[in-house]
Symmetry: C3
Subunit: 353 residues, 3 copies
Amino acid sequence: MLRKLFFPLLVVTFVLSAISHYLHWGAELEFAFAGIAILFAAGLLGKATESVAHYAGQRLGGFLNATFGNAAELIIAIFLIKEGLYDIVKASLTGAIIGNLLLVLGASALVGGLKFKEQKFNIHSAGQNASLMLLAVIALFIPAIFVKTEHISEHDTMTISIVVAAFLILAYIGWLIYSMITHKDLLEDHVDTKADHGEAAPWSKGLSVLLLVVATVMVAFISEWLVHTLDTFSSRFGLSELFVGAFVVAIVGNAAEHSAAIVLAMKNKMGAAVEIAVGSSLQIALFVAPVLVFISLLFGGEMNLIFTTIEIAAIGVAVLIATSISRDGSTTWFEGMLLLFVYLILGVSFYFV
Amino acid sequence: MLRKLFFPLLVVTFVLSAISHYLHWGAELEFAFAGIAILFAAGLLGKATESVAHYAGQRLGGFLNATFGNAAELIIAIFLIKEGLYDIVKASLTGAIIGNLLLVLGASALVGGLKFKEQKFNIHSAGQNASLMLLAVIALFIPAIFVKTEHISEHDTMTISIVVAAFLILAYIGWLIYSMITHKDLLEDHVDTKADHGEAAPWSKGLSVLLLVVATVMVAFISEWLVHTLDTFSSRFGLSELFVGAFVVAIVGNAAEHSAAIVLAMKNKMGAAVEIAVGSSLQIALFVAPVLVFISLLFGGEMNLIFTTIEIAAIGVAVLIATSISRDGSTTWFEGMLLLFVYLILGVSFYFV
Amino acid sequence: MLRKLFFPLLVVTFVLSAISHYLHWGAELEFAFAGIAILFAAGLLGKATESVAHYAGQRLGGFLNATFGNAAELIIAIFLIKEGLYDIVKASLTGAIIGNLLLVLGASALVGGLKFKEQKFNIHSAGQNASLMLLAVIALFIPAIFVKTEHISEHDTMTISIVVAAFLILAYIGWLIYSMITHKDLLEDHVDTKADHGEAAPWSKGLSVLLLVVATVMVAFISEWLVHTLDTFSSRFGLSELFVGAFVVAIVGNAAEHSAAIVLAMKNKMGAAVEIAVGSSLQIALFVAPVLVFISLLFGGEMNLIFTTIEIAAIGVAVLIATSISRDGSTTWFEGMLLLFVYLILGVSFYFV
């Protein structure tokens, strides 16, 4: 039913969003339409990426999936950078990471755990992911604590950011080589479930590529419209830009992952759900965030990698509790509840900043 | 021998404490008598709770045990709140948590480990407890770091505290449901040892309830007398109120758990000893602390959940090392020694504040 | 080949270092010669210690090995303390700990992992080491956070440092008793590999003792020469003393361990390589650092144990990622790469302070 209505709804919401933007219907309506439209466009982008990946063969496909899985977030962030809204970019990256580790993983574990007593997944993969997430936290924490406690010039801060960004991208490339080539078999469940949530491609090769291009363009347009409403929207509702970036934008931009992971958990494919949640966080921390540092240079700006204390604290506790819970290779409804509570505590705290 | 003398000693110390209080014998004597009297009264309270729990049936009994296990601490804290001594309340909560995780667990592992080479316990339960303790640390850390680094009004700070307190109580209820109903079998050792340290009830049903009431009233009275001496006592001995709250009050209030856990460890029932130490910490962090926030409102005050930096640091390191040591489901004398060293390092540091 | 040239090179570099020092050839040359000479002298000191340990019997030998394994670092640090360069001492201790946990362990895991798919080692020993490293981090972190956030006089700070130093040395002695006497069998791999990298002693008993004395004297002389160049050297090259202490001195002083661990990893003896890297860090944190506090008192000075925020952060993240990676008792090339990246990120950050 929803499948049948997907394309009509995509077109209608896109058109409504466009009209409300160009006719200046006001921040509330523009924000609402853009927010709904980007849900559908991001969904199409995800499906089209998977479909193209399917035709590209397992290895290249895995790479495409892993690299463009967060294309929607990347595009939204680029438009924020173009406007010089670096703080909102970092807030939305923070929000995407904690949203995946706490909201997506927590909701999946809770909903799946209400149906199945204990849901198991590859323990080796969980340990690996924990170390990678730790690297990401360290790479954000170290420059921040140096800049906050020592006298480091703005120029040197940017240099440190660029070097750290380069190391993160190298670590990400290393991870792709490790998990897709040299140690693929050790992380079996990982690969298996990857195939699972990819399923068969619904479209022909040519159509897939066409839809990928169309979806990218749509996301790009809606992102620009959405970004323009943020300022008015947040002041109208008394919300800080930080809260809008970290919670509203992040939830909207990740809605596709959210629903996919929960559906998988309900089918007792918790390994695939963990893969989406943790894999998505890793992509954002190790690939999207550092790439944005370089993109900011292309736009003549200088977005460094220095996150605020509360952003690092939020990412740090999310990684801590998510790895503590997933390290044993199984989840229960109770662990899902704990993750959701941490997300809510963070949400309430950010709300009052 | 000591069992035979228990009731006479309870009465004598209670009477001495009462007389010294009403005749104003001076802070030193009043503190000493109240401190000794509360050891016996808290011991009776613990025994009576267990006995009532025994008659209430396994499920309700477990709930009673879990909820009123720290009744003595709760009553002491209520009298501190009545006097508006919020900082001492938080110090004593901090002291109770680190005292259980480091002193009780450490002494049990050391003493037990000197007799038995390696003492094993349910690894599943240990992992679960670790995640719960982590939630508690996060719930204290997040509001504190937000309040300390951002501009958050006192009113919003209290709102955040109330919300976080509510989530902690919900997590505690979830934990009871999880460990006593839905996943009871997974945590077998847990339940087993619970029964172990409960043993058979020594008193009839009616006597148990009567003793529970008597013990509660005695603890309540002695607590009030004790609280009144703290101010004079700490200034007389050049101790900060922080140190008195975190170490003196906490050790006195937890003496019953201390001795019970060590006795169990010496009988090679390390699972039960861990259960007491970690379970007690969890009760304080997830139940006593948040309940006190609501109780402060009843008294017309506003005790928020913002602990000081050094209190959070102390709780954080205690949780880190206790979970690192217990995560593998076994302890040795050396690990007990490490826990005690961390406790002593904290004690020395708090002493000089 | 290199073995044959070892003694001639040792003598030549020692003599060159001596001449450059007494004839004042300038900081660059003096630093370079002293740096190369100390590599050889430290190498001889290590070999001679192992050889003496061999003749002393397993138990006393293990103790000697464990206690004098970082004799070179200790001697360098003593000369720094004599000059009152406490900050460089702490920086070099920091550098030695992170160098062992990140550079030595990382390079070993990477190089070994390129040859062998997965390298396994004793999981029990890894867990034990993790708890000990955690104690070391806590022992540095707690006094620092108390001193930084509360009003603690310099006198009390020194008292706290002395007490903490005493506990660390007691923990170290406890560890020796635990790993060499009471729980030796549990940590088999540990003992096994210890023997492995000790191999047979190349020299007679008398010669071993003589060489130990000669090596100690050489290291002592070169250390003094080296320390005198640091000031000029660092200002000439625009490096902070912190960077020179934490990276240059630490790498030079640990070169022997570095090469030994990598060679062992290439022979698939990862357990022994981990033992060197982690064991060496533990020695520095639990033995060398606290002993230096007492040595500073002998010289009429007062070196406390309060490390800077960034030093504690560096040690903390190094311990976190090293224990996260080694906790499962196996390493791969990718994990080695992650450790090296964290080391490089720290290096870049320290460079810009």
